[in-house]
Amino acid sequence: MFTFTRLSPATSRDHVLVGLSPMNGRYTPEYIRKLIYWLQPRFRSIDVILPGFEAAYTLVAAGQPPTQAVRRARRACRQVRNPAVQALADLGVPDAARHVTSWTRLHANATYRAALIHSRRAYLTDSRIRRACRDMTGEVVRNAAAGGREIDAADIDIAVRYVIAEIPLFIHGPSLFGATESVFVYHRPTPLVTAIASGDCILTAEPGQSWAVVTEEENNHGRTGTSAALPVPSR
């Protein structure tokens, strides 16, 4: 059972984009399966997005040698990709593998490429975006760093590319996935999405873009809850 909290007033059920974080322990195969099983019937269409090659920067910044970091990041991506594809296939989504993609692969899409250039510029020019990107990066790098290793600004400079490359997915869901409306779903509100959703930063979402947080409810009785209704929007 999940709770689905909208971060904006939209109520569309057209398309849902699910962000998976391979390096976050929450995304076990079991959790991914449950999440997708819960979301898929609630929307007309679904896509699952994984990080691109920049995922390795988190581990590099945390002190791992690059080739090892890349190997680990690739393995982590495989480990979340496979259950996601399997879940979609089991739900009868045609061509399931095509609906689980990394943003490296999205570079084939001209909208993504243009939005990435725009996002890099936003990072360089908008202090709120810059701070949100660096704070989020600092947090994940510190979590990944072993034995209290000090993280400095140069580490963040490299690792922040991960977060920047994700920005287009928060603002261009509808055109990237050929939908009229699209809701981006993650397990917690991030400062970046909050900044974009608030509407007072340099990055503006395209029409039809919205965001939601989905969290798993504790279920101590080992039974599935009854409600399939979407909880009331957060505001």
């Binding site: 590099v60 690059p66 495989r78 570079h107 001209a110 490429r113 490299i158």
Partner: protein, 398 residues
Amino acid sequence: MGEPELPLRYPFPLGDTGALPPLTRWAQRNKPVCPVRLPSGITAWMLTRKDDVAQVLADNRFSRDLAERGSPRMVGEDLTSVDDAIFNLDPPQHGRVRQVLSGWFTRRAVQRHRPLIARHADRLLDVMADGPNPTDLVESYSATLPLDAMGELMGVPAELARECRQTYPMSLDLSSTPDAVQKETDAAKRFIAKLIAAHRADPAPDSPVHELLAAASAGVITESEMFGTVFLVFVTSFDPLVAPLTTGPMILMLHRKQLAECLADPQLWPKAVEEILRYFHNGGLGFPRIAREDVEVHGTMIRRGDAVVVPMQAVTWDPRHYRNPERFNIHRATDGSATFGAGPHYCLGSQLARVVLQEAISALFHRFPTLDLAVSERELPWDPNRMFTRPIQLPVTW
């Protein structure tokens, strides 16, 4: 695959990791003169067998004069719309213009540029070594090297370097609108006009631009032939090199045994480059030619005024000439020549392209012998709408 509906619609879905598109292979087997609908809406005849292509590209009954408005286009008024560019000329006018440049581009003449290419390659690789690892090789190297090295070779003055970078590589995007294509062409024309003015004010001897300017002053070619041909040489100096500088390293990383052989025996780099040239053709369909009269090919009547297009990769994957074409094998007896076309418009830069690729790819792997893909090859982004086919990003680690 089943029987596709005709005309085929271009662009075709690409083959896996840059292999021949399945529809091209189908046409080669089943429909050697195959109708194809281009994004502009016109339907052209597509030839896919090596012998047919060699014959038609050398046949004067097919014209390359596409400069006139209303000529068949891929999307809109692209580089083929530029008046009197060497690309657009028919014999005998074509031969007169080509003669001006041929000396600069011979196999012998281009060898002296190896140190210049190697110097730019080394500099970029130094920067890459000091930068983030993993990185996108396209951004760090494959797209930057042609701009820097060819920019110097073609005599781009410092004050125009920035504008050159904004103009090239051109996007040549098949999903673009005619309007956007026209704008892109116009922007490149403005850049070329400034470049020519700069060369007139301060001549840079020993460059193709210089040869063309001298020939125009001497009355050997017209002002318009000079302008059109400088324009074309500039497009070809950048865009067609980025693709093999991306696909080449990619395919070698996916064939590590052959890569190891090249590292152990550097004499093999030229062989590797020939096989890269054969395996990928980056120009997709190639620009149209027009029949001046009715011509029959394989029992199909190509009518006067009809357009004919050729995907060069079909030629270098023709199983009648290349055994197991889908296999990447640097030890083949055949070379990559056929990727550069056939007949009078055979690529003028073929020997220079080889020099650039040999220097650039060998320098890359001698510097980073452990260079490897940082994502699964399945995740590489190929955009079928780019005229010069390649992964848009090539994440690597070392």
